[in-house]
């Protein structure tokens, strides 16, 4: 059954669970836990009301879009939960810098926890949420954003911490942006809220990935009450079912700050006799069967529970789980030469020429 696109004018309390489920699917195994963001989003909507969801063409060309994300260690942000006012201080600083307040909040990364939490920040600021993000999925490094691919300079970062400090960084490039932001984060107790690539709606065109909030909610809704959640999710994503089976082996290594690993799925049922291996670096990056690559980054690869179609994050993978591996195409922006240079297989150290999932799966 083909579903008509749903007009999503505002995000309500009831949308948060679906958004969280969808963000977990788009997280391709990474992006952090969606639960803390969902709790904060529900609380903020109860307190401040629904969050309008706007498209780029609904914003004036000079309207400022504020991409927000939490940075730091998940263990810390789950214990030292954010205060209410971090987004307010960042918005005030943006107004001081640009002479006008931001007009909308945007998620920097729709995949995982940073896809859900911006609902809370937008509600607190009384601003709409832009129906877009900078990845269309989750990625581990700060330069792996659409704005970088579009050639917009990373020359401003504003951070705010739980006690009220505000730090404005004017880095010379993305590398320095990452290094200084990380140092600030450590000094601030290993958790902070960050805005980078503040840009006008006009600049956003072609530099952000549009429609991803609506998409995440639709992905989350697809499995609600479905008789066959897996089929419903696969159809909604337009995904290829790479394998259905059992997680038979899991090898984890922590190197260079990344949770790397290899997961092996042995087919069951119709897929009996087949074996798929997944290469993991925070996210699921490459899927290989019999020496043949069947999907690779920046296309999306997600492991879901075969029964419930709930996404399983890489740290939640356990031997014996009954899983299905789905893969589907990334946003066209990532398939451009600059996009592939930024987040293609070679950017993660795999000596592979990118081939689109729909050609090889």
């Amino acid at each position: 059954m083909v579903k008509a696109p749903r007009m999503q004018a505002r995000i309500t309390l009831e949308d948060v669970a679906a958004l969280a489920r969808g963000c977990a699917v788009l997280g391709t195994g990474g992006g952090g836990d969606v639960r803390p963001g969902a709790i904060a989003a529900r609380r903020a909507i109860r307190e401040h009301g629904d969050v309008p969801l706007v498209t780029l063409d609904e914003l004036p060309g000079d309207a400022l879009v504020l991409p927000l994300s939490g940075i730091g260690a998940p263990t810390v942000s789950n214990e030292m939960v954010h205060g209410e006012d971090e987004p307010v201080r960042i918005a005030e600083e943006i107004e001081r810098i640009f002479g006008r307040p931001p007009a909308a909040v945007m998620s920097s990364e729709i995949g995982g926890g940073n896809g859900v939490a911006p609902v809370a920040w937008a509600a607190r600021l009384g601003l709409p949420l832009l129906d877009a993000d900078a990845m269309g999925r989750a990625f581990p490094e700060v330069q792996m954003v659409s704005m970088y691919v579009a050639g917009i300079p990373a020359n401003l970062v504003v951070m705010s911490d739980v006690v009220g400090n505000v730090v404005t960084i004017r880095p010379v490039d993305g590398l320095w942006s990452e290094q200084i932001a990380r140092a600030v984060c450590v000094a601030a107790g290993s958790s902070a809220l960050m805005a980078d690539y503040v840009l006008t709606a006009r600049e956003c065109a072609g530099a952000v990935i549009e429609g991803t909030v609506t998409r995440a909610i639709a992905v989350g809704r697809a499995t609600e009450g479905a008789a066959d959640p897996l089929a419903a999710l696969t159809a909604e994503l337009g995904a290829v079912r790479l394998i259905t089976g059992k997680l038979a082996d899991l090898e984890r290594r922590t190197t260079g700050g990344f949770a790397r690993g290899t997961a092996t799925v042995e087919g069951t049922g119709d897929d009996r006799g087949r074996t798929l291996t997944l290469e993991i670096q925070n996210e699921n990056l490459v899927a290989v069967e019999d020496g043949r690559v069947r999907a690779m980054v920046p296309d999306l690869i997600t492991v879901v529970d075969s029964q419930t179609a709930t996404a399983i994050q890489t740290e939640g993978l356990r031997y014996g789980q009954r899983v299905t591996v789905l893969a589907w195409p990334c946003d066209p922006l990532w398939r451009t030469p600059k996009g592939l240079e930024t987040a293609g297989p070679r950017a993660f150290g795999y000596d592979l020429d990118y081939l689109p999932v729909e050609k090889i799966a």
């Binding site: 260690a73 810390v76 214990e79 954010h82 209410e84 006012d85 450590v186 031997y319």
Partner: protein, 515 residues
């Protein structure tokens, strides 16, 4: 030589089981009674029944200890009954204000429990610095203006830096006197909202703990028994009754842990898969070194997320009363009238197992016309068990499977994925045995420098070990035999100095009794 005896009681969803053990942990008597709606009545009936089973009546006076695993606390939360009103205090502002206390609680539970909530300035950073100096005036004002049965105090990073929470306890004592206070660093681990939830539940349960303790004492006194009482907790260890009175929330989920520990003791194996087959379900868990393997996932109690470590249990819809063709439904306690082997008309898994020659139960044979269909049900059940064993075994097929519970005869003698199937004596009351033989324990979680951190790391780890051992002794363990049974480290990222979450657990046999 004067022998002493002890009684283990486990209150389950369907049955309350009781056993009497002697000094050498031999089972002298066992009894099973239906769990009553008020829990206490069934508990009393099981206690009476097991004492009546003793080979000689005078032995009753030799009972010196009673160990109780009970669902009182769980039921109180699920039914929103007998819960205290709690003043909920968080130390953390200006951090943490984006999610106030009890934000995700079901409305009716929050209405029942919350006397008031406040977030005051205080709490710590991950590295031990204060987020803000403790706002003592705000604390005084809150407790003075929020009448409550108990107070729950949760400070940011208190598992690593407990001093502010301890100061609050002193302030409250000085300010309003003898109101019970739950401090979060004594209850749970890192993860503010989940630890806070558990701390509030703990504070809400003080009255329930008093009631069950009083009911038990009354039942024992009525029989002229003078005993020490202990409560089983979710990790399969015990706490003395005065300790349980302070940490009643820890009694939640003791059933699966008791059954795993009981299976270990009765079978004599310490590394095994345990299948506890009851009336409506089979619970599979894993024993590692004699203790239950714990779940990595958060545990919800009555709709509230907590970060308790519970045994990692996989439940499948297979029990003695499971209705063939209508799974997961079960005839439950009506099995004695409804099953085919008892002359009823409902085909159950008990009938299927009897027809397959796995046990002799009931008052009459299974009618011939049912055999083919029941054989199919047995095949399906065997497949479900093999699948579940494979899921919990994590790839190892070299361990035995210990079959316990009233429906253990449902399981085949050979289960794929297990080396062998062990059916110990008294398997039907393994949970009560588990309560009776349990150790006392204490645990602590904190943050220490990663390896290379030098002498301060070594000192902090020693301190944590000492604190865990002290907590085990406070729970009833013998100081001479308490040992560290678990020590794990999880690395933290984004810190100026590399650090790890350190988790330490100490356990030991109960201290010897005088006389």
């Amino acid at each position: 030589m004067s022998i002493t005896l002890r009684v283990g009681i486990d209150v389950g969803g369907t049955n309350t089981d009781a056993v009497v053990l002697d000094d050498d942990d031999r089972v002298l008597a066992a009894a099973k009674r239906p769990t009553s709606a008020d829990v206490t009545e069934g508990l009393r009936a099981a206690l009476d029944a097991v004492l009546a089973e003793l080979p000689e009546p005078h032995l009753e006076k030799r009972v010196k200890r009673v160990m109780l695993g009970t669902t009182h606390a769980t039921n109180a939360i699920l039914e929103r009954r007998a819960l205290g009103r709690v003043a909920v205090l968080r130390l953390g502002a200006p951090a943490t204000t984006s999610v106030p206390p009890l934000s995700e609680w079901p409305d009716d539970l929050r209405d029942t429990v919350a006397a008031g909530t406040a977030i005051v300035r205080g709490g710590h950073f991950v590295d031990g610095r204060e987020i803000a100096p403790l706002d003592v005036d705000a604390v005084r004002k809150f407790v003075a203006t929020t009448p409550a049965d108990a107070i729950a105090v949760t400070g940011v990073f208190s598992p690593a830096s407990a001093d502010q929470e301890n100061r609050i306890a002193e302030i409250i004592r000085a300010e309003i006197g003898d109101v019970p206070v739950s401090l979060s660093h004594e209850i749970g681990s890192l993860g503010l909202l989940e630890r806070e939830n558990a701390t509030v539940l703990n504070a809400a349960l003080y009255g329930v703990a008093r009631d069950v303790t009083a009911a038990l004492r009354e039942a024992l006194e009525a029989r002229g028994l003078e005993v020490e009482t202990y409560f089983a907790q979710n990790d399969g260890t015990l706490m003395a009754v005065d300790y349980a009175a302070r940490y009643p929330v820890l009694t939640i989920g003791s059933g699966p842990a008791n059954s795993l520990r009981g299976a270990a003791y009765l079978s004599g194996v310490t590394d095994a898969i345990v299948a506890d087959v009851g009336g409506t379900s089979t619970d599979l868990g894993v024993l590692v070194g004699g203790f239950p393997r714990e779940s990595a996932a958060a545990v919800e109690i009555g709709g509230v997320a907590t970060n308790f470590r519970m045994p990692d249990i996989l439940s499948i819809a297979l029990g003695g009363g499971t209705i063939v063709g209508a799974e997961p439904r079960s005839v439950g306690y009506r099995i004695g009238t409804e099953a085919l082997v008892f002359g009823g008309t409902t085909p159950t898994m008990t009938d299927a197992a009897v027809a397959a020659g796995r046990g002799t139960v009931g008052t009459r044979p299974v009618p011939e016309e049912w055999h083919e269909r029941l054989a199919g049900a047995v095949r399906a059940a065997d497949e479900a068990v093999a699948d579940a064993v494979d899921r919990v075994a994590l790839g190892r097929a070299d361990r035995p499977l210990v079959a316990v519970g009233g429906g253990a005869f449902l399981l085949a003698d050979q289960v794929p994925g297990a080396r062998e199937v062990i059916r110990p004596a008294h398997a039907e009351v393994a949970n009560a045995v588990g309560a009776a033989i349990a150790l006392a324990s204490g645990r602590i979680e904190t943050i220490v420098p990663a390896s290379g951190g030098g002498s301060s790391r070594a000192r902090l780890i020693d301190n944590a070990k000492e604190e865990a051992a002290a907590r085990a002794v406070a729970a009833g363990a013998d100081p001479a035999t308490v040992q560290i049974v678990e020590l794990s480290e999880i690395p933290l990222s984004y810190l100026s100095e590399p650090a790890v979450r350190l988790h330490v657990k100490a356990a030991g046999p109960l201290a010897r009794q005088a006389g």
